[in-house]
């Protein structure tokens, strides 16, 4: 586990949501908004099709932060802004860099990119260093 230092990038996390992930996430989270699970409904409301749950994508940002910190219990805070639509079956890359290290906490800036579309911006994580 390399220490987190100011200015350094964290390991990139790449994940490709399969076409059924929104069903699994709906069941796991209880969020059955039809824009995530009903192709016809999604198109009727002007979307290209079913879209990812934003909070599923945020969970991927959380995973990237946890892996950089050395474990899930080190994630103390995560704030994000959702932008654009998260699509199924297209790779998402989570990247980030350490903005500052102070008093045993590393502050990491994060974003989620899907085919050039920043679906999560201005992510900010606080990671306990020990």
């Amino acid at each position: 586990m390399a220490p987190l230092r100011e200015g350094e990038r964290i390991p990139e996390l790449k994940v490709t949501p399969d076409r059924y992930v929104t069903y699994r996430y709906a069941g796991a989270s209880g969020d059955f908004n039809p824009i995530h699970i009903d192709e016809e409904f999604a198109k009727q409301v002007g979307l290209p099709g079913r879209i990812l749950h934003g909070l599923w994508t945020m969970a991927q940002v959380a995973r990237a932060a946890e892996q950089a910190a050395g474990g899930p219990q080190r994630l103390r805070r995560l704030a994000v802004q959702f932008r654009g639509l998260g699509m199924l079956e297209q790779e998402i890359a989570i990247s980030g860099s350490v903005r500052e290290v102070r008093e045993g906490v590393a502050v990491v800036e994060l974003e989620a990119d899907q085919g050039g579309n920043k679906i999560i911006r201005n992510g900010e994580a606080e990671l306990a260093l020990e």
């Binding site: 996430y25 796991a28 989270s29 969020d31 969970a59 959380a62 995973r63 899930p72 995560l78 802004q81």
Partner: protein, 146 residues
């Protein structure tokens, strides 16, 4: 049409969620969390926890029973077909493990309008059965064309 702001400060009845081992495993699988402390009791105990540990973002699950009535509250007046999830913040405290009972309260933190969009910010505070804070969260929903 300006947004209604009368609901700012409104609080909702708390809801208690019992964290189950299989629910933690189901959630971990759905988001791709593979650390064995989320799925294997022995691994969790070896790491010093009483039972399998909920991933941090499991906060979504135990907050849902109190967030749903808040978002659907007619006094808040969110227009659902034009609502998007704009932003989210979680601050975590004590870890959550299977067997915990998490009680969450919700309130309307702010309602405002900017550039023809309505911003609805809710705050939740979740505590375990020992009254330790496990998570505080800020949920921002945006409604276009208010």
């Amino acid at each position: 049409m300006p947004v209604k702001t009368e609901a700012i400060g409104k609080e909702y009845p708390s809801a208690t969620y019992a964290v189950g081992r299989e629910k933690v495993r189901e959630y971990a699988a759905a988001v791709g969390e593979t650390d064995p402390i989320h799925t294997e009791v022995e691994a969790a105990r070896a790491a010093g926890f009483a039972d399998v540990v909920a991933p941090p973002m499991f906060a979504v699950v135990y907050s849902a029973p109190v967030m749903a009535p808040a978002i659907f509250d007619p006094e808040v007046g969110i227009d659902f077909p034009t609502m998007v999830h704009g932003g989210q913040e979680f601050v975590w405290g004590e870890p959550v493990v299977a067997g915990d009972e998490i009680t969450t309260t919700a309130s309307v933190k702010d309602i405002s309008e900017r550039d023809g969009m309505g911003f609805y910010v809710f705050e939740t505070v979740s505590r375990n059965q020992r009254d330790e804070t496990v998570c505080t969260a800020s949920w921002t929903n945006i409604v276009r064309g208010v």
